[in-house]
Amino acid sequence: MMKSKVWHLLISIMVLSLLITACGGAAATEAPAAPAEPAQPAAAPTDEPAAPAPTEAAPAAPITIGASLPLTGRFSEPGTAAKQGYETWAAIVNENGGLLGRPVELYIVDNASDQDTAVADYEKLITVDKVDLVVGPFSSFLVIPTSEVAARYGYAFVEPAGGAPDVFNRGLTNIFFAQPAPGSQQAIPFTDFLLALPDDQKPKTFAVVSQDDPFTLGVMDGVKEALTAGGMELVFDEIYAPETTDFSSIAIQVADLDPDLIVGGTQLEDSIGQIRAYQEAGYQPRIAFFTTGPSLPVPFKEGLGSATEGVFAAISWFPQAEEYQNADMVAKYLEMFGGNESDIPEDVANAFTVGQVLQQAVENIGSVDNAALIEELHKGPFQTVVGPLSFNELGQPQGSFMLLQWQGDSFAIVGPGDRKRSDPIVPKPEW
């Protein structure tokens, strides 16, 4: 009796799910035709394909742009910010007459920070939803596998946050990393700053504590190379699993060695975890640098309070920057998502940059033909909220990060060169 009920339930669930997938498939085939195939005309503004003819001047078929983002899971914070950046860009484009006279429509799906899901998502966006263009997910971890999918279908892959060496060393020509410099170079303004310090302020010893993630490890490799070449001694070098939450053992060891400088290869939670553990272990470095974390002002401050003072990080953008469309973007973002100007995450701007680059390249060639687009993207430069951007043949951007330091309730830009707004504080106050 019991068994047969269970069977009925199972069978009805299967039938239901079949129905749902069937409906989904049917709906999806109504999406715009594949741009990779010659069937889709390279839509010049005048050349309208046979859309179901409404009465008045036919509204142009939208240009569809697909992305799979980590909206949940360990990259949810930056992933959500990237989604907002894409949406802000699309809103501004659509208010100003669209792209090539056609409205922009975003297809954004959640990959739960999972590589396999992200790959399947892009596969589906391209082959089932048949989007015209795709843009990248957040972080090298997801960019590396998904860019392969885009490459297989000949799609240009402008992406906001994948700058690890492994993104660029696979012989792909369709990747364009829309930040001022590859992630591995993120810490260069910081190491340059250290090496230029007078000898009595220059750290003699340093420790590197990094999450096992291609982005952070890439940055850490650059730091280790530059600082050891500059005569500083690496006294402690530790890599921990991404899910690590407890840093007491690491901190006690670091405190025992007491290096002058601590460099953390972190996302957000672990930057908070590390600093709290150093406080508990009584470790007071003279200089501290963390990759991501300090550049996400709200949660970083919430987790650490006054311990943020003097912490360095690198950033590619900040809300007050006087770059192309930056003020528009900030205003639009606040209108759409609320909050304060100073709370807008950097990842919003990186995703917005992706949109700007794509928009200018599409307008230059007058179509959404991905092969022509890839060729155009290699030309540049494009005007963006992070400054003028061009790419080399590997898709690496040609520019530099800014160096930030927490001073008071937020961070200040302390380098490099002409972009500096405040003087750096060295040594940093105790945390």
């Binding site: 899971g73 949810s76 530790e238 690491i250 006690i252 908070i272 709290r276």
Partner: protein
Amino acid sequence: MHLPSWNVLIQVTIIGLLTGGVYALMASGLTLIFGVMRVINVAHGAFLIFSAYISYWMFTTYGLDPFLSIIVSVPVLFTLGVLFQRYVLSRVKGDPGLGVLLTFAMALTLEGVMGSLWESTGRSIRTSYTSKVIPVVLSPDLTLRLPWVRVGGLVAAAIALAAIYLLLQKTNLGRAIRATIQNRSAAQLMGVNVESVQALTFGLGLATVAGGGALFSLIWTFNSGSHEEWISKMLSIIVLGGMSSLPGTFIAALIMGVTESVSAVVMTSYLSPIVFYLILFLVLIFRPQGLFGTRIREG
């Protein structure tokens, strides 16, 4: 393998013991629930994170200290536990496999609910005593730095575990629970209302995890997906302890706390979880019932 100094070893051992105490409170409910119901509550980690969120919410909204937020989270989780056992789990009592599946479904549901309520950003609570330590001078060159939150955590865990122990030993409900753990059919024959005992035990198990969640929120950062990692940790603890033994859970939790933190400095933090599992495998080879477990004779 690097050889850390004695100072470092002593420090990390103490931290490991303190952390183990908190683990013990977190895992004790899982032991109770398994003992009485013979169901592994896979949702235990999710309930842990859920109660951490309650503490986070009470702290950010009303400024209530996490130690005090248990006034809210314990009754809430107790009620949730009783209802879940009474109206969901008890429907599949004949099939423990289906029970595990149900608790797994519960874990996924809770994860979704928490994700939509609090987003999946990493959360942490920063009180006035976060990162503050009690210095204990052992010798001129060795000062132990005991973090307030972990010392508080251990004390709170000890009080809660003692309360559960007294409840089990001294009250009629406790006797009924222990009787049900030992032999459900016999308990039923002796007039124990096994259904109620099971519902109350599930509630009690979740009430302990509410306490654990409050401590958790003070010490670690968490997001709605954190439970997956913590349920595996808690399961390993109760397996080593002997599945339904409360003292076993306590000892196993301390072993886990200490091996984790000591092996992180002797080897690397990446390899440290392996050491605990090696101990677990060795114990299971020679004592399949775990440290304090009794061999189960299913009739």
